[in-house]
């Protein structure tokens, strides 16, 4: 059940528990993740393969993540880097941005936020990822949030986009309302059942004119299918 927009991450994190959790969580969304426990491992990984994004912890056994960041930028390597910091102070945040980080997230992070930030970073970088997905006459570009139906290009709002991503990751599969809710709304928000129906309704309008359609399986959930 991989996601359409798959990215190749390098996670630099020394805490094994966290590293495994993050890797699992990202893989759940279909991303490819390599994990490095030290800075030297990270350098080995970078030398071996290209990455779309680096997730970088600050305190590592063999040095400070900020030194690594500075060195990367000085060497002219511009792989996007998002720093994961345990400290939330303004000065630290400004500091890492000044050193050349593209963004930062504060631990513990919301994966929806992390993904949004990754998307924003890649969008800003104008990343040339092979991200466009085709399905039943739909041409979906999650990075710039556009949906092509025939010759027409339709813009998607963020939640419509994410809803489409969820459904498009496994066409024909039925997603329960709960499953969709958890991924569409923040855990801190309270959501009514018909909130999802609103987004389903909107998305149906956006895919009108293609072969694709969203079926309501009464009492169970929704699925994307083609006519």
């Amino acid at each position: 059940m991989g996601i359409i927009c798959t990215m190749r991450f390098l996670l630099v994190e020394d805490n094994l528990d966290l590293a495994r959790s993050v890797v699992d969580r990202l893989r759940l969304d279909g991303h490819a993740v390599d994990c490095a426990g030290t800075l030297s491992d990270a350098r080995d990984c970078l030398a071996a393969a290209p990455y779309d994004l680096i997730l970088l912890d600050i305190s590592l056994p063999d040095g400070d993540g900020r030194d690594f960041l500075r060195a990367e930028r000085r060497l002219g390597r511009d792989t996007p880097i998002i720093v994961m910091t345990a400290r939330a102070e303004v000065s630290d945040r400004v500091n890492v941005l000044d050193l050349g980080a593209d963004d930062y997230v504060t631990k513990p992070f919301d994966f929806a936020e992390l993904e949004a930030r990754c998307r924003a970073v890649l969008r800003r970088r104008g990343a040339a990822l092979q991200t466009v997905q085709h399905f039943a006459g739909l041409t979906f570009n999650p990075l710039n949030a556009t949906l092509g139906v025939g010759n027409e290009l339709r813009e998607l709002r963020n939640r419509e986009l994410r809803l489409l991503e969820i459904l498009l990751a496994a066409p024909e599969r039925i997603f329960s309302k709960d499953q969709i809710c958890d991924r569409l709304f923040s855990y801190a928000e309270s959501v009514t059942d018909n909130a999802i129906e609103v987004y389903i309704g909107r998305l149906r309008k956006k895919i009108e004119g293609s072969e694709a359609r969203i079926e309501t399986i009464r009492g169970i959930g929704y699925r994307l299918t083609s006519r």
Binding site: N15, K107, P108, F111, R119
Partner: protein
């Protein structure tokens, strides 16, 4: 109980002025005394000379004492000053000529050299010279006393003139000494002031040792200060390390918990376990947010005492913050509209604090906005202040007073299920106060809240 000790400058100035005053008074009296003595000596000399001139013309003879008052003797008495002159010539207890009531010398031991004394005579005080001669009258030795008196108007006039001059000299020297003592005090205290300035100018982060050139007397103070700075730096750095470690050690497992919970939630089947997992995630989020705001608040409190005084361009600051927070807003389909950031609007203040305040406002707006609404943020000049205005379409204030919402750990009654610590608005309010600015919250027309932060322009 104990009064603040006098300032060094005041102490020095007062003591130097005291010394100057004593010296000036001494100078005044010395000049006066010497001048008066000199004037008296001069007058006595002339008076004595006149008396002697008369005495030398005394002659014996058969018929009586021969007296020939020399014109010049009297004339010369008038040459120094226009003083009245009296005289008396007495032989064997009988006044021969002159003013018979002129006082005689207290001791009759008047001799060849003139005796001087002062006595009241008629309507005034007179200075008197008396001299004794013996002449032979019909071969009998007759003692003759010549007494010449002069009023002291001239001498008094000189004394007055001298007193005035002496007072002027005293006053002049006092003023000169006062000016010099002020200059001296200034120059003595200048190194202290320079040192204080050099230390005072430092920003809140500057904990370098003081290497300002200082005179030897101040070196113990400076080295004590440097010792203190070093200890402070050590303590601060240990604290920072500790906080960083602590944050790392708490937040990293929290991140693991959250990630695991999210994964589990994805895979969970029963509604019960899903609800539990949601609660776990919410709890993690809440503790993380609280920790962040507590740190922010601590920073505000710490930095408020020693504000950095820098130029902060609010336009750039807002643009940067909006860009950083936009991905989160997008998650809820919120649009952030920014206005007024085309031109620089510069205020004076502490950049981290101002950023903290604006970020908290933005966080709040995003948290409380209804989904798919718009947040307006703008900055503009209003007279001598810059106004940052941030309006959302959230749940508004529900009639609560601002003072209640900005109190520490106070949350609005309508905050409901939104995660928060209740410190966000406190931080904004404290930052405004620290910058001599103002913060206000108002109900937005058509629903929602408007927050305005006013900061004084440069």
């Amino acid at each position: 109980m104990s009064q603040a000790p006098l300032s060094l400058r005041l102490r020095l100035v007062l003591q130097l002025l005291g010394i100057a005053a004593v010296l000036a008074i001494l100078l005044y009296f010395t000049v006066r005394t010497i001048a008066e003595q000199a004037a008296e000596a001069t007058h006595d000399g002339v008076l004595g000379a006149a008396t002697l001139a008369i005495a030398e013309r005394l002659q014996g003879g058969d018929s009586g004492v021969g007296i020939d008052l020399p014109y010049e003797a009297f004339s010369i008495l008038g040459s120094i000053s226009a003083d009245r002159v009296f005289y008396r010539i007495e032989a064997a207890g009988k006044t021969l000529t002159g003013y018979a009531d002129l006082p005689l010398p207290p001791r009759t031991g008047a001799s060849v050299a003139p005796v001087f004394y002062t006595a009241p005579y008629r309507d005034t005080q007179v200075r008197i010279a008396a001299v004794k001669r013996t002449v032979l009258v019909a071969r009998v030795a007759v003692p003759v006393l010549v007494v010449v008196a002069q009023t002291q108007l001239g001498q008094d006039a000189i004394a007055q003139r001298v007193a005035r001059r002496a007072a002027l000299v005293g006053l002049g020297s006092f003023i000169l000494a006062a000016v010099l003592s002020l200059l001296t005090t200034g120059s003595v205290l200048r190194p202290i002031n320079r040192l204080a300035e050099a230390v005072g100018r430092r920003g809140p982060q500057d904990l370098r040792a003081v290497d300002h050139p200082t005179p030897a007397e101040l070196r113990p103070l400076v080295s004590a200060l440097n010792g203190f700075i070093a200890r402070l730096r050590g303590a601060l750095s240990r604290t920072e390390t500790f906080i960083a470690e602590a944050a790392h050690h708490i937040r990293t497992p929290l991140a693991t918990v959250r990630a695991r919970a999210e994964i589990a939630l994805r895979q969970a089947g029963s509604e019960d376990s899903r609800e539990t997992l949601r609660a776990v995630i919410r709890a993690v989020e809440e503790s993380s947010r609280s920790a962040g705001q507590l740190l922010d608040h601590a920073t505000v409190v710490y930095r408020s005492d020693r504000l950095a005084d820098e130029h902060v361009d609010l336009s750039a600051l807002i643009a940067r913050l909006v860009m950083a927070i936009e991905p989160i807003a997008e998650l809820r389909d919120l649009t952030i509209m920014v206005a007024g950031v085309e031109n620089k609007i510069v205020v004076r203040g502490d950049p981290p604090l101002i950023e903290s305040a604006v970020r908290n406002l933005l966080d709040n707006a995003i948290k409380y906005s209804a989904q798919e609404t718009q947040i307006d943020i703008g900055v503009e000049k209003k007279g001598k202040t810059a106004r940052i205005e941030l309006c959302d379409r959230g749940r508004g204030l529900a009639g609560q007073r601002q003072s209640r919402l900005t109190g520490r750990f106070q949350r609005g009654e309508n905050s409901g299920d939104v995660v928060g610590s209740g410190l966000g608005l406190t931080i904004v309010e404290e930052v405004a106060a620290a910058h001599a600015g103002r913060f206000e919250l108002t109900e937005r027309e058509g629903g929602g809240t408007c927050a305005r932060l006013f900061l004084p322009l440069v």
